[in-house]
């Protein structure tokens, strides 16, 4: 076991960082906010922590906390700025935000180290810090999927107008999604630069957005379980695919594309759908009522989806 640990230390560290990154994109997605700002917050966290530790010798956890607060404030401001946007426009505004962060990093002079980035960020972050923070993130996000808060997030995503009619401030939930995403992304970024002791603009570009997105696509955006699954898969998949030699990146691409096209809910979506079908098959129809499908036949009004999308 300790041999395995030593041999795969980098991957084990990356797994926990990846989980936090994936959660930072999953949280807004689940709330119906099509935002990739988590990748930008990752950049903010990575650079702010690295600078704080490098220039002031601050303890790691304090640096992580401060950069987390910075990213939450930035997330809130971003959320306020783009509050009136929806769908693709919001997605692209947040992609632009991410890329602006990386351009700032390139042009930050001595502070950010320009194109080469920062080196020698020595810190005392251990694997226990990684596990602890990742668990904290998971528990926090899992809570938002329970009970009243969970239902309300579902309502904000599926039908904002309905959500308002039952007293939910859609605006507040959306802003909260930006803030939480900012915190999670920032912690992921902080941990990355502190564990690897280096950060450069190439770590936070368009490819980071694609990585975070692929984790969510394959894992599933509806639950933290999907984000964790996706993060684990895409941390361990590339080395496993090394057996394919030259083809490994192509295989990787095929997996992502197939998931995006044919499995919109990701692996978690398949699991939850199967679980639902199982309970549905076991259950008896209500007594004294005609079976639902027979009633439905007698009525010509379009059912379900057609009504909702109107």
């Amino acid at each position: 076991m300790s041999d395995f640990y030593a041999a795969n230390l980098v991957l084990i560290q990356s797994t926990f960082i990846g989980i936090l990154l994936a959660l930072s994109v999953q949280v807004p997605m689940r709330a119906g906010v099509f935002s990739f700002a988590g990748a930008g917050s990752y950049g903010i966290g990575a650079y702010v922590s690295a600078i704080l530790v490098l220039k002031t010798g601050m303890p790691s956890l304090l640096a992580i906390l401060i950069s987390g607060i910075v990213a939450m404030v930035v997330g809130l401001l971003l959320g306020l700025l783009v509050a009136h946007l929806g769908g693709l426009y919001l997605a692209m505004a947040t992609v632009s935000f991410d890329l602006i962060v990386s351009v700032l990093a390139i042009n930050g002079g001595d502070l950010t180290g320009g194109v080469t980035g920062l080196f020698g960020v020595l810190s005392d972050v251990t694997i226990f810090h990684l596990i602890g923070l990742a668990l904290l993130g998971i528990v926090g996000v899992a809570l938002t999927e329970r009970g009243r808060v969970g239902r309300r997030v579902d309502a904000v995503r599926d039908d904002p107008e309905l959500a308002q009619s039952v007293g939910i401030s859609v605006r507040r939930y959306r802003l909260a999604a930006f803030v939480v995403s900012g915190l999670l992304g920032s912690v992921a970024g902080s941990l990355n630069s502190l564990v690897r002791s280096t950060i450069s603009p190439s770590d936070i570009g368009f490819s980071l957005i694609v990585l975070a997105l692929t984790m969510i696509i394959v894992g599933g955006a509806q639950s933290w379980k999907g984000a964790v699954l996706g993060a684990v898969i895409f941390t361990w998949l590339p080395p496993l695919l090394a057996g394919f030699g030259q083809l490994q990146h192509v295989v990787y691409g095929v997996i992502v594309a197939t998931a995006a096209i044919f499995v919109p809910g990701g692996l978690y979506g398949i699991y939850s759908e199967a679980r639902y079908r199982r309970t549905r098959a076991k259950r008896k129809p209500p007594q004294g009522e005609a079976p639902a499908h027979e009633q439905a036949l007698a009525i010509s009004v379009p059912n379900g989806d057609a009504g909702r999308s109107a």
Binding site: G167, A292, N303
Partner: protein, 262 residues
């Protein structure tokens, strides 16, 4: 009718000289109406007569151009759409709107989540927000709408009429003082319509004020205490449903064809 008569002097909702214009289109114009406590009001009118816009204005989704809305005597037009539930106004939608991936129970619980003064209030903050309990209001709403047995179903598994009942149950779980119903019996068969009509009248007798937008004239005549007929964004006739549907102006505007069928 005794309950309605006893409280007939207290307006729950009052609309004064309301106008909602979209660019040059006067969707609602110079409209006034008054809803007294404990009665069922109906709005009829042809498509495009402004019924949905009016409902949108009352639920604060559509901004007013001018005029006033008073709820319980207090100005209502500054209230945000997400705050009307806190004022105990519940609504259903023209097309069924339920969360597709959660059970009937959770869909109805969504209404109870908004209710104040529920037993939930006594729970701690933690349990109220993250607990997985079901409110007593949900059970009673399920019983009233005869949805027993459907608790674990998802909306797509049920007929359109049953989905409509879930919507009404969600609105009832909110413990409303004013219930806005947008074509609640669309897509229901005759038996279901009768059941809904009976349910609404029971609720009325318990003092719940209701505003019903409906196409089905028979349903209106059977259910409502008072009817407003709308055309071109304003009220053209009002009064007892039997009288309003016989009004020549109303027949010309809307019922011309339909009334002969009815």
């Amino acid at each position: 009718m005794s309950a309605a008569e006893a409280t007939a002097t207290r307006p729950v909702l009052e609309i004064r000289d309301l106008a909602v214009h979209f660019g040059g289109v006067k969707a609602v114009d110079r409209l006034s109406m008054r809803l007294d406590e404990g009665r069922i009001y109906g709005i009829i009118g042809p498509n495009g007569s402004g019924k949905s816009t009016l409902l949108g204005a009352v639920t604060r989704l559509t901004p007013l151009t001018s005029g006033e809305i008073l709820f319980d005597g207090e100005p209502f037009h500054t209230v945000h759409a997400s705050q009307i539930a806190a004022k105990r106004i519940a609504r259903t939608f023209q097309t069924v709107r339920l969360l597709p991936d959660v059970s009937v129970r959770d869909n109805i619980q969504l209404g109870a989540d908004a209710a104040r003064g529920d037993v939930d209030e006594r729970r701690g903050w933690w349990a109220r927000n993250f607990g997985t309990h079901t409110s007593p209001a949900v059970a009673s709403a399920i019983a009233r709408t005869r949805l027993g047995g459907f608790e674990d179903y998802r909306p797509a598994e049920m007929s359109y009429g049953t989905q409509r009942r879930v919507e009404i149950a969600r609105a009832l779980a909110l413990d409303p003082r004013l219930l806005l119903l947008d074509e609640p019996t669309a897509g229901m068969n005759q038996r279901e319509r009768g059941e809904i009509s009976t349910l609404l009248k029971e609720l009325r007798d318990e003092g719940l004020t209701q505003l019903l937008v409906e196409h089905d004239v028979q349903m209106m005549v059977d259910t409502c205490d008072y009817v407003f007929a709308m055309n071109l964004g304003t009220v053209i006739a009002q009064g007892r449903p039997e009288d309003v549907v016989r009004d020549p102006q109303v027949q010309e505007a809307y019922l011309g064809k339909k009334f002969r069928h009815a």
